[in-house]
C-alpha cells in the first residue's frame, strides 16, 4: 500500500504555506490549524473504521449539530439546579457522549439488523438530525448561558503545557484508533468484513455486531467532537456542522483508506484532515487567488493527493 502520496501532498502544502507567509509556521497558527482540525479529525477517525468495515455514515455533521443543540439545552436547563461548576460541565459531556452513542447505535441497528443500505439510513438520519436541531432552535441559534460559556471556554481554548485541549484529545483519539486498527482484533475484523463479508461470516467473525460497534464508536466520537466544539462559540444552529460528513469522508479517502472497505489506516486519515484544513488556512493567509476559487483549489488538491497515492501504488 502506498504511504507516500498523502505525506508528499502535506509536505508540499507546508513548504508552499511557509514560502507564502512567514507566520505560517508560527506556534499560534499551527495551534489554530490543529485545533480546528480536531472536530473533523476526531470524527474522521471513527469514520475510518466505518468505511473500513464497508459502511458509510453521512449523518455525522447534522448529528454533531443536534448533539450540540441538545447539550446546550440540557446545560441551560440544569443551570438553576446545578449552578456554574464542574458538575454541570460533566453533565453536558455525559449528555453528548450518550446521545452520540445512541445515535450511532440507531444508525447501526437499522443498517445491520434490518439490513437497510447504509447510504439510505444515514442520508435519512442526516435530514432528521438537521431538522431536529433547527426545530430545537426555532430556526435560530441555541446559545449557552453566557456565564456557563465563560466557565466552559477553557475546554477549547485552554490546555496542558501550551497545547490546547482539542489537540490533545485529537492526538489521543488518533493513537488509540491507530492501535485498534492495526494491532487489535477489532481492526482486523473490520478489515475482514469490508474485504469480504461472507468470508468473515464463515470465519466466525460476528459481522453484525462488529459493524454495529463501528457506528456506535463513530457516534461516540461525534459526541467527543461536540464536547470540544460547544465551548468555542457557545452556540449551535442549523448551520453547525454542515458538510462535516463530506469533509470527514474525504479526509479518510485522501489518507488511503479504501472507500469500498477492506483496508483502512488511521494515521492516513490524520494526514487527510490536516491537508484539508491547511488548504483553507493557506488560502486565507495569502492573496494568491480570488476567494471565489477557494473551492476549486481544494478540489484540485484533494484529487491530486489521491492520484499521487494511486501512482505510488502502481509502482509498488
Amino acid at each position: 500500500m502506498s504511504v507516500l502520496g498523502p505525506v508528499i501532498a502535506l509536505l508540499v502544502l507546508i513548504v508552499v504555506g511557509t514560502a507564502l507567509n512567514s507566520n505560517f509556521l508560527s506556534a499560534a497558527n499551527i495551534t489554530n490549524v490543529l485545533a480546528r482540525s480536531a472536530f473533523i479529525g476526531i470524527i474522521a477517525v471513527g469514520m475510518t473504521f466505518v468505511i473500513t468495515a464497508g459502511g458509510l455514515d453521512l449523518s455525522v455533521g447534522s448529528m454533531a449539530a443536534f448533539i450540540a443543540g441538545l447539550m446546550i439545552l440540557v446545560m441551560n436547563a440544569a443551570l438553576p439546579v446545578l449552578g456554574i461548576g464542574i458538575p454541570i460541565i460533566l453533565l453536558g459531556m455525559a449528555v453528548a457522549l450518550l446521545a452520540g452513542i445512541a445515535a450511532g447505535l440507531l444508525n447501526g441497528f437499522l443498517i445491520t439488523t434490518l439490513g437497510i443500505e447504509a447510504f439510505i439510513v444515514t442520508l435519512g438520519s442526516m435530514g432528521i438530525y438537521r431538522s431536529l436541531v433547527t426545530w430545537l432552535a426555532d430556526g435560530g441559534t441555541l446559545s449557552l448561558d453566557f456565564g456557563l460559556r465563560t466557565f466552559y471556554r477553557p475546554v477549547y481554548f485552554g490546555g496542558l503545557f501550551g497545547i490546547s485541549w482539542p489537540i490533545i484529545v485529537f492526538a489521543l483519539t488518533v493513537i488509540v484508533g491507530e492501535v485498534m486498527m492495526s494491532r487489535a482484533r477489532f481492526g482486523r475484523h473490520c478489515a475482514a468484513i469490508g474485504s469480504n463479508e461472507s468470508v468473515a461470516h464463515y470465519s466466525n467473525v460476528n459481522v453484525n455486531r462488529t459493524r454495529l460497534m463501528t457506528y456506535a464508536m463513530l457516534g461516540m466520537l461525534v459526541g467527543v467532537a461536540t464536547i470540544m466544539y460547544v465551548p468555542r462559540l457557545g452556540s449551535a444552529s442549523a448551520s453547525t456542522g454542515v458538510l462535516w460528513e463530506l469533509e470527514a469522508i474525504a479526509a479518510v479517502i485522501i489518507g488511503g483508506t479504501i472507500l469500498k472497505g477492506g483496508f483502512g489506516r488511521v494515521w492516513g486519515t490524520v494526514i487527510g484532515v490536516l491537508i484539508l484544513s491547511m488548504i483553507d488556512n493557506i488560502l486565507n493567509l495569502t492573496d494568491l487567488v480570488s476567494p471565489y476559487l477557494n473551492g476549486a483549489i481544494q478540489g484540485v488538491i484533494i484529487i491530486l493527493a489521491v492520484i499521487l497515492q494511486r501512482e505510488a501504488k502502481a509502482k509498488g
Binding site: R188, S195, Y202, G262
Partner: protein
C-alpha cells in the same frame, strides 16, 4: 493427415518481471480437433490460454493464425478473429439476465431500439442446442454454477467461434451436465471448430480429447495423440513422479468406536430435511449427491452458518445447541467451505491475516501478537507445503492448490475435533490432491472425525470409510464397505432402483 492448424503458438515465452513462467511453448489448435491442455496448478496453463485468447501478450515467440503471424492487441481483437475464451471464473454480469449476457456488447437492434424479441428467440435456440432449459429472462445471479457454465457456452455459440478455449469447463458440473457439455463439444468439433480445454479430471481428457498436451513448470513435456497415452501416464507426466496411489490406504475395518458427533433430525428450511447420522472417532464419512441435493446447506446449518432446526445434536456424547459459528468452533466442530474464493479467503489480504482470521482470539485478547502470527504462518507453510512467491503476496495471486492448502491451514488453526470439508479438492492439481487426501487420512488416524462432501465420485469412493448419499434434501442411503461403488452411489443420488423404497421427492 492432420487437419490444418487454425491457431498456433511457436516457441512462446512469457515473463512476469524477472520470472519466466512459460519456456518456449509450441502447440497447434486444429480445425475439428479437441486439444486437452493439462498440468498442475501453476504449470502455465492459464497463461498459455490467456496468450491464445489475446488477454496477455507473449514476451517472445509467435502466434500464428491460419499460418500467418498475428499479434492481438486485446481480447476484442481475438474475438474478432473468432477466438472465444470461457473463463473458469465466469465472465458474466450477475445482475443482467441470461439473454442480456449472451448479447452483451453486441446487442441486436431494430432501428434505434433493441430487438428484444429476436435476441430472446436466439437465446432460446442457443440454450436448446446445449439442452439447457433456463428462462432467458432469469438474472444470472440466480443461476447455479452449472447453468452459468451453460450460459457461457451458449454465449460462445452465439459468437460463431472458430476457436473455443475453455478453462476447466467441467470443474463445477455434475456428471450428467458434463455429458451434455461433451455432446456439444463433439458437435462443435464436427462443425470444424478448434477446441482447447483444460481439466484436472483425466478420465474426461481420455474421453474427449484428440490431442493431449502436458505442461510442467512452464515447459511442454508431452504433446501427442490422446490414444497413445494412458491416464496414469498423463498424471506421471504432469507431476513428474508416480501418483498411481492417489488415495491413502483405508483402515481394514471401518472405525466403529466412540461416536464423536450424533445428529438427529436436522432440517434446513427448504434445503434439507430430517438428516440424522453418526460420525465415529477416526472415521472419514463421505457425503455424495448431486449439486443442489442439500449437502452443503445441511452441513452449514449444522455448523451454525445458516438457520436450521434439529431434534438432537451431540458432540462427544454431550447434547449441544449450535446457533452461531462460534458455538460450533468452541465444541471443536469446524467447516471448510466449498467456495474458497468467495467464502474462504480474503483475496486482497496476505497469508498471515487469512491464516489467523478464524482463530484470532488465540493471538491476543485485544491486541494481536503479530510475531506469534508469523510463527504460525511459518509452521503452516511447512506443514501444508504452501508455495507462495512471497509471504506478503495477496492470496488472490496464489494458485488454486496453494489457496486450498492455506484454507485448510486456516481451519486447522481452530484445532477442530470434527472437521467437515466441502469439495476439498475442487479445481486443484493432482499432486496437491494427493497431499490433501493424505492429510485428511492422517487426521482421522489421529482420532479426529472427518466429513467429506464431494461431487467427485473417485474422491468419495477412494477416501471414505462410509458414504452417505443425499438426494433432494434427504439422506437416500448410507453405504459402507463393499457397497461403496460408483454404480450404487449414482443410483441412490439419482433416485433410481437399488431396491430402495424411498419416495422420490
Amino acid at each position: 493427415m492432420n487437419p490444418p492448424s487454425v491457431l498456433a503458438l511457436r516457441q512462446v515465452t512469457k515473463s512476469f518481471g524477472p520470472v519466466e513462467v512459460l519456456h518456449g511453448v509450441t502447440l497447434d489448435l486444429r480445425a475439428g480437433a479437441v486439444l486437452a491442455l493439462i498440468g498442475e496448478n501453476g504449470a502455465g496453463k492459464s497463461t498459455t490460454m490467456k496468450i491464445l485468447a489475446g488477454i496477455e501478450a507473449p514476451s517472445s515467440g509467435q502466434i500464428l493464425l491460419d499460418g500467418k503471424e498475428v499479434s492481438f492487441g486485446s481480447l476484442h481483437d481475438a474475438e474478432e478473429a473468432g477466438i472465444v475464451m470461457i473463463h473458469q471464473e465466469f465472465n458474466l454480469a450477475e445482475q443482467l439476465t441470461v439473454e442480456q449476457n449472451i448479447f452483451l456488447g453486441r446487442e441486436l437492434r431494430k432501428g434505434w431500439l433493441l430487438d428484444k424479441a429476436r435476441m430472446r428467440r436466439l437465446t432460446r435456440e442457443y440454450l436448446a442446442r446445449i439442452d439447457c432449459h433456463i428462462d432467458p429472462d432469469t438474472p444470472v445471479a440466480k443461476l447455479t454454477n452449472s447453468d452459468k457454465q451453460m450460459v457461457e457456452i451458449a454465449k460462445a455459440l452465439s459468437r460463431d467461434a472458430r476457436v473455443l478455449v475453455m478453462d476447466e469447463p467441467t470443474a463445477v458440473l455434475t456428471g450428467s451436465e458434463t455429458r451434455i457439455l461433451f455432446e456439444q463439444v463433439r458437435a462443435l468439433r464436427e462443425q470444424g471448430t478448434a477446441i482447447l480445454f483444460t481439466s484436472h479430471k483425466l478420465g474426461e481428457v481420455a474421453e474427449i480429447a484428440d490431442t493431449v498436451t502436458v505442461l510442467r513448470d512452464g515447459t511442454l513435456v508431452h504433446d501427442g495423440p490422446a490414444r497413445d497415452i494412458t491416464e496414469d501416464e498423463m498424471a506421471t507426466a504432469m507431476v513428474g513422479r508416480d501418483v498411481s496411489d492417489l488415495f491413502p490406504d483405508k483402515p481394514a475395518q471401518a472405525p466403529e468406536g466412540e461416536v464423536l458427533l450424533r445428529v438427529e433430525g436436522l432440517s434446513v428450511p427448504g434445503r434439507a430435511q430430517d438428516i440424522s447420522f453418526d460420525l465415529h472417532r477416526g472415521e472419514i464419512l463421505g457425503i455424495a449427491g448431486l449439486i443442489g441435493s442439500g449437502r452443503t446447506e445441511a452441513m452449514e446449518g449444522l455448523c451454525g452458518l445458516r438457520a436450521c432446526s434439529s431434534t438432537r445434536i451431540e458432540i462427544g456424547g454431550k447434547p449441544v445447541s449450535i446457533t452461531r459459528p462460534g458455538d460450533a468452533l468452541e465444541r471443536g466442530l469446524c467447516y471448510l467451505t466449498e467456495d474458497r474464493k468467495l467464502r474462504g479467503l480474503l483475496l486482497d489480504k496476505g497469508m498471515r491475516e487469512n491464516l489467523t482470521l478464524q482463530a484470532l482470539h488465540k493471538y491476543g485478547r485485544v491486541l494481536i501478537d503479530t510475531a506469534a502470527e508469523e510463527r504460525a504462518l511459518d509452521r503452516a507453510i511447512g506443514e501444508f507445503d504452501i508455495r507462495a512467491g512471497s509471504r506478503t503476496i495477496a492470496v488472490g495471486n496464489l494458485s488454486g492448490g496453494n489457496q486450498q492448502k492455506l484454507l485448510l491451514a486456516k481451519v486447522m488453526q481452530s484445532e477442530p475435533v470434527i472437521l467437515i470439508v466441502d469439495e476439498p479438492t475442487r479445481g486443484i492439481d493432482i499432486g496437491t490432491k494427493q497431499q490433501i487426501y493424505a492429510f485428511l487420512r492422517k487426521l482421522a488416524a489421529e482420532g479426529h472425525g472427518i466429513v467429506v462432501i464431494s461431487s467427485e465420485m473417485q474422491e468419495v469412493i477412494g477416501l471414505s470409510d462410509r458414504v452417505m448419499v443425499m438426494r433432494s434434501g434427504r439422506i437416500a442411503k448410507t453405504l459402507s464397505g463393499d457397497e461403496i461403488t460408483e454404480d450404487t452411489i449414482v443410483r441412490h443420488a439419482m433416485g433410481v432402483g437399488a431396491g430402495s423404497t424411498e419416495r422420490v421427492a
